[in-house]
């Protein structure tokens, strides 16, 4: 699907560009500010490699632009104003489905009492576990609260790939810096 190396390269380019944009605005930054700048640029770079095709990237950008300080930078970096509507609006299809499904689930759950033989206790417990974990996963994923099961798994897939690429790029950066430090010749 996506070549991991090209993803890494793209991410690095955009990240560096974002950092430079940030630093062009403020000359001397404290450690925390720098950290924030790096993190923000990394987030935006990661999200823009997906080019807003995935839900989590949209959510990431939306979250980044929500905060007033970041908003200007975000716009600057991305070169356009982020979509004004909130993330929730973009998931109208899914929210409708989830509302219906949640109603149906409560309906089913109420009715499940009536047929104890078909659903054993073990399967009920398993279902509860799965629900708990999906809730946790949704909390981890940016913009994940509004996704239903299928898209959640897809988005997780994508997100994991991007995170992996990001981690590797950063690791390269750190090792490069170490090399440079120890070998100042």
């Amino acid at each position: 699907m996506r070549n991991i190396n090209s993803v890494k390269r793209e991410f690095l380019k955009k990240w560096m560009w974002g950092i430079r944009k940030y630093s062009s605005q403020k000359k001397n930054m404290s450690l925390l500010e720098r950290k924030k700048a790096i993190k923000l640029s990394a987030d935006l770079a990661m999200a823009s490699t997906r080019n807003k095709t995935t839900r989590w990237s949209k959510a990431l950008i939306a979250n980044a632009s929500k905060d007033g300080n970041n908003k200007v930078h975000t716009e600057h970096v991305l070169g356009s104003s982020p979509p004004p509507r909130r993330v929730r609006k973009s998931s109208t299809n899914y929210s409708h489905g989830t509302r219906i499904r949640s109603c149906r689930n409560t309906w089913r759950r109420n009715r499940a009492v009536h047929r104890p033989k078909d659903r054993s206790v073990a399967s009920f417990i398993a279902k509860k576990l799965v629900q708990k974990r999906t809730r946790r996963l949704k909390s981890l994923l940016p913009g994940g609260e509004f996704m239903d099961g299928v898209s959640l798994v897809e988005e997780t897939l994508d997100y994991i790939q991007s995170l992996k690429a990001q981690v590797e790029v950063m690791r390269c950066l750190v090792t490069a810096s170490e090399l440079m430090i120890l070998n100042p010749s």
Binding site: M1, I4, N5, R104, I160, M170, M180, I181, N183, P184
Partner: protein
């Protein structure tokens, strides 16, 4: 094939669905992969036992499919066994010749058979089947590369889509979680019963709902299969809850790693760096030159140090890394203005995860083990056997740094393109060293 039609002709009305499935399984195991389709076709078309499909030609099969479809449409709905099956076949026959993959699939379409069988009973079943097929095609196009790691081309993707669909369906049928099997089996019974006693059962959700539910569940489990390939260590775990757990842990660990690295990078990037970020423009050409410079530099150093250093020393340094007390480093950190607890775990994590990363596999290039070696050798060289490496490197960091923003990129490109790095022409070295000196003078 003979067996298939025969048994189905015999047991058409008497067997339950499960028994039919089991018979089909047996047949298909005997016959190997391809007659999965034959089995699907002939078993589901049991009224039309005359369809003896040739074992090889996909085109012939396609013709037969068309015939069956024409016939099936003429039949009335409750007894139209072939319609659902043929719609599934039409989905899989989007590229007929390529479907004859030499992949053994002993039970390729069991679950699809089962599913079609239940779909037959629904008035909106064709719609469901087509909808499912469209969605699957769409989603599989995205997901194909995950499995093959970028190997599959666009032309190849429909093949893997269909085989994936079938294999996933088979796997979802055969997965080991008891709850799923129980629920599936019971739903099999329920479906059959629901069809027959459709009014007698009070209150249960109508069949289309549970059908949609099952479709959704199977989609989810398909995606979970992809995730299994992506997340390391997930191969042994079956069942949704355990895999979700692994996925959650993995995502959390990745996020934590990103966080740690961001912190480390931010601590590295002192005020010396940002002016460079601003000043050096994005010249791709310059990067390529620098790649070579850095690589040259790197490899020379590495080869020198690897030759010189005793392997035993490496281990002792590692032990020191692990056991070295934090107080030794803490004294150095205040000059940099970092909190010690922030950077020490960062550094320990930097040393240890390279080994972990290698075990995570798949994405590590060959440069990374040499990274580890390089670190060890550097430590041996710079600090001697006692002191903690990174404390000394931190004190050196602030006064002088020959850091160049483009250097990072090049080093990263080294990791990315290992092949390019290894095939390195030596006649460029001299020019590069000059370029490197020039850059240093800039700073």
């Amino acid at each position: 094939m003979m067996h298939c039609a025969y048994t189905n002709g015999n047991m058409a009305g008497d067997m339950t669905v499960l028994e039919r499935q089991r018979a089909r399984m047996k047949l298909q195991e005997e016959q190997g992969y391809f007659p999965g389709f034959n089995g699907l076709f002939s078993s589901s078309l049991h009224p039309q036992d005359s369809f003896m499909l040739p074992a090889d030609s996909g085109c012939a099969l396609g013709e037969v499919v068309a015939q069956a479809q024409a016939q099936a449409r003429s039949m009335n709905k409750p007894s139209v066994p072939g319609f659902g099956a043929s719609s599934s076949i039409s989905r899989t026959f989007s590229c007929p010749p390529a479907l004859v993959d030499p992949e053994p699939e002993p039970r390729p379409t069991d679950s699809s058979i089962g599913k079609e069988r239940f779909k037959k009973r629904k008035p909106d079943k064709p719609h469901n089947a087509k909808f499912l097929s469209e969605n699957d095609m769409k989603h599989k196009r995205i997901k194909v590369g995950v499995d093959d790691d970028g190997e599959s081309k666009i032309t190849g993707s429909p093949n893997s889509i269909t085989t994936n669909t079938n294999s996933n369906r088979r796997e979802t049928c055969a997965d080991t979680s008891n709850s799923k099997q129980n629920s599936k089996a019971s739903e099999v019974q329920n479906q059959k019963l629901d069809y027959i006693h459709v009014r007698a059962r009070r209150g249960q959700a109508t069949d289309s709902h549970s059908l949609a539910e099952r479709v959704r569940r199977e989609k989810i489990s398909e995606r979970m299969k992809y995730l299994q390939d992506l997340v390391p260590g997930c191969n042994k775990i079956t069942g949704k809850a355990g895999m979700l757990d692994e996925i959650i842990n993995y995502v959390q660990s990745l996020q934590r790693q990103v966080e740690v690295r961001v912190r480390c990078i931010s601590s590295f990037s002192s005020t010396l760096i940002y002016p460079k970020f601003m000043s050096t423009p994005f010249h791709l050409r310059g990067y390529q030159i620098l790649i070579m410079y850095i690589y040259d530099h790197y490899m020379q150093f590495l080869s020198m140090k690897l030759a010189a250093v005793n392997p035993r020393l490496d281990f002792s340094i590692d032990d020191l890394f692990e056991k070295e007390g934090f107080p030794a480093c803490a004294a150095n950190f205040p000059n940099i203005g970092m909190s010690s607890d922030m950077s020490n775990p960062a550094y320990l994590q930097f040393n240890l995860p390279p080994q972990q990363m290698v075990s995570y596999g798949g994405l590590d290039t060959g440069i990374n083990p040499s990274d580890i070696d390089l670190k060890r050798t550097m430590s041996a060289h710079v600090s001697g056997p006692e002191t903690y490496l990174h404390s000394s490197c931190f004190t050196q960091m602030l006064p002088s740094s020959t850091w160049e923003e483009s250097d990072f990129q090049n080093l990263c490109n080294l990791d990315f393109d290992q092949v390019r790095a290894t095939s390195f022409p030596s006649h460029l070295f001299s020019g590069l060293v000059e370029a490197g000196n020039h850059l240093k003078m800039e700073m």
